[in-house]
């Protein structure tokens, strides 16, 4: 009843192909932006920003990266964790070498390194499909993990073997390193994610995005329509890894403050893949929803389950057991979603919107 396109006529193709064709959608998006940029920084505390919102944004960006590759181009990857690592280490090396350059520039530039590495490991995709690519991207994962551990130059010969976020300032506010301002970090993260989501949605709805989806849906037909698989696949790998790389340097510089090689291990790759599956393959909105569920659910369970078990049963469980419980729940959710709704939460959202449109009538 409230969510209706009735009376909103589109007179141009431009209006017809707009991102948010309905007035109510535009309203919603402005509403969310105001909440994100104004309400949360004002009301959120250190825990909410640092343990929930910033990681959520970082993983959303990584999920967008993986979704570009897997959801839009149909190439499975289990290497996103390592590609995040490439971004993080690249950013670390660059900002140490040129401390005076604005850190934001390096955060974006680190994506370029990640893109180059991604293209290299994407090369086999030109000759192989599906599962074989899993092996190729796992090669990236394990090789890069090893490199982060064994090449001391990458972590600047630290005796800890870890990289730590050096302190850098933006407009006079410290945004990276120890003692950085959480709120500022959050706003920077949000701004990066909003801008990059907007870029992603533009690319996807244009010629390049279409050529990715053509490869995904029917690669032979795509080739016969004039899509060059070389360009389409490698550009998807490049863009995907770029996003992961930026997410990786955000993770180190705007969230954790430091990172070890284990921060980029293959469990991360799985986590990101789960976000994409659960959120919805081939949906940008899904990346936000998937990241929210997979990141926030374990936090809630860790917070609530042990006391609950303590209260109603004679057993006591630790928070690490609670984490295992959330792993099981996530695993089950993945299987259930694949069975019931392979397009994930994003499709559920679309269904809800459809229901809203006709509400209060059933059809």
């Amino acid at each position: 009843m409230f969510y209706r396109e009735a009376g909103q006529f589109k007179a141009t193709y431009e209006a017809d192909s707009a991102k948010f064709p309905i007035f109510q959608d535009k309203l919603f998006i402005w509403f969310y932006l105001v909440i994100g940029f104004v309400a949360i920084p004002l009301l959120g505390n250190e825990f909410f920003l640092g343990a929930i919102m910033i990681p959520f944004l970082v993983f959303t960006l990584a999920a967008i990266g993986l979704n570009i590759l897997t959801g839009f181009t149909g190439q499975i990857s289990l290497g996103s964790g390592a590609f995040m690592g490439v971004g993080a280490y690249a950013c670390y090396k660059m900002t140490l070498a040129y401390p005076e350059v604005n850190i934001l520039i390096f955060i974006f530039a680190s994506g370029i390194f990640s893109a180059i590495v991604g293209v290299f490991f994407g090369l086999p995709s030109l000759r192989i499909k599906g599962f074989y690519l899993v092996v190729s991207t796992l090669a990236a994962q394990f090789f890069l993990e090893w490199a982060f551990q064994r090449i001391p130059w990458l972590y600047n010969y630290n005796n800890t073997g870890a990289i730590d976020g050096v302190s850098r300032w933006l407009f006079g506010i410290q945004i990276t390193g120890g003692g950085a301002d959480r709120t500022a970090q959050y706003i920077v993260c949000l701004a990066i994610v909003v801008v990059m989501t907007w870029f992603a949605s533009n690319i996807i709805s244009g010629r390049i995005g279409r050529s990715w989806m053509m490869i995904r849906d029917m690669d032979i037909a795509a080739e016969l329509m004039g899509v060059r698989p070389l360009y389409a696949k490698l550009s998807a790998f490049a863009v995907s890894s770029f996003y992961c790389g930026v997410a990786g340097s955000m993770m180190v510089f705007l969230w954790l403050g430091a990172a070890e090689p284990e921060s980029f291990d293959y469990n991360h790759s799985f986590e990101i893949l789960f976000m994409v599956i659960l959120g919805g393959l081939g949906s940008l909105l899904g990346c936000f929803l998937g990241a929210a569920v997979i990141w926030i659910l374990p936090i809630l369970i860790r917070e609530w389950l042990p006391p609950l078990i303590d209260k109603i049963t004679p057993w006591v469980i630790t928070s690490s057991t609670a984490d295992l419980v959330s792993d099981i729940i996530i695993g089950i959710m993945i299987v259930v979603f694949l069975i019931m709704e392979p397009h994930g939460l994003a499709r559920l959202w679309a269904i809800i919107k459809q229901k809203l449109r006709v509400w209060p009538f059933p059809y």
Binding site: T12, Y13, E14, S17, F199, N202, I203, S205, G206, R207, I208, G209, R210, S211, M213, M214, R216, D217, M218, I220, A221, A222, E223, L224, M225, G226, V227, R228, S235, G282
Partner: protein
């Protein structure tokens, strides 16, 4: 709007006069391992005609189309398209030199809408680079809208306005075939290859499709090579017919000539070799 405003209302111009040779296939042989799919086939396709390729199942018709648009690479023989002679070419090259096609089993992009599928046909006509696409403002948006117009013309031509935004996976078979034709047309091909455009259709759908094929041929002057099993349709539509059997050419000529050719009759009635 600039001078290059693409519009479908004029005939596709490729600088070849009607009746001249558009495609010439010379002594093509193709085999997979030990299996010979095509043996020493030659024929030509003239600008503006509808050329039918017929033959029993397994005669090598689809393989022939696959060779023409570069999907299979023949071991012997050459293909001359618009005066350019090649043996091997990539599907991409075939597409960009103006060959477009539909498929025997509908090969639409199932996850995309009708509109996007037909827009996909215009891939080769769009050139704005990555950075413009990223912003989707100015030139990139302008290009997108321009091509949308052309696509809308095709949608109107094929009478599929109502399903413009439907995902193609959910459409009935007849409509899918129509969308596929639209996608092939969107590339503004010089040579349109249709692989069994009417397979599995009922009479009414066949009539519709035949009308579209004739309209495409006459309105846009597109040269068409088609594979079809329905002899009635072939005899009505085609200007000239090639008959293949066991990978060999056994007949070539006007429909009524082919119809009375003894080899062709034998092939269809199944005389032992």
């Amino acid at each position: 709007m600039n001078a290059h405003d693409p519009h479908l209302s004029t005939k596709f111009d490729d600088g070849i006069a009607p009746g001249e040779e558009l495609l010439h296939v010379d002594n093509i042989s193709l085999s997979f391992g030990g299996v010979k799919a095509i043996t020493d086939i030659s024929f030509d396709v003239l600008k503006g005609e509808i050329r039918a390729i017929i033959g029993p199942n397994g005669a090598g018709k689809t393989s022939m189309l696959n060779v023409i648009n570069g999907f299979y690479h023949p071991q012997e023989g050459t293909i001359t398209f618009r005066g350019e002679k090649r043996r091997k070419m990539k599907p991409y090259q075939a597409a960009s030199s103006g060959i477009s096609r539909t498929f025997q089993n509908v090969a639409l992009f199932a996850g995309m809408s009708t509109l996007d599928n037909i827009m996909a046909g215009r891939t080769l006509k769009m050139h704005k680079n990555f950075f413009w696409q990223m912003w989707r403002q100015g030139p990139a948006l302008q290009e997108e809208i321009l091509h949308r117009k052309v696509v809308e013309e095709i949608i109107e031509f094929l009478e599929i306005e109502a399903i413009r935004k439907e995902p193609v996976g959910t459409l009935p078979y007849g409509l899918q075939k129509r969308v596929e034709l639209g996608r092939a047309l969107a590339a503004e091909p010089d040579l349109l290859l249709l692989d069994e455009p009417m397979a599995g259709m009922n009479l009414e759908e066949k009539e519709d499709m035949s009308r579209f094929i004739i309209d495409v041929n006459q309105q846009y002057g597109t040269t068409i090579a088609l594979i079809e099993h329905d002899m009635g349709v072939v005899m009505d539509l085609a200007d000239r017919v090639i008959v293949l059997d066991y990978g060999k050419k056994i007949g070539d000529g006007l429909p009524h000539e082919v119809q009375s050719n003894q080899d062709v009759i034998d092939a269809y009635l199944g005389v032992s070799h």
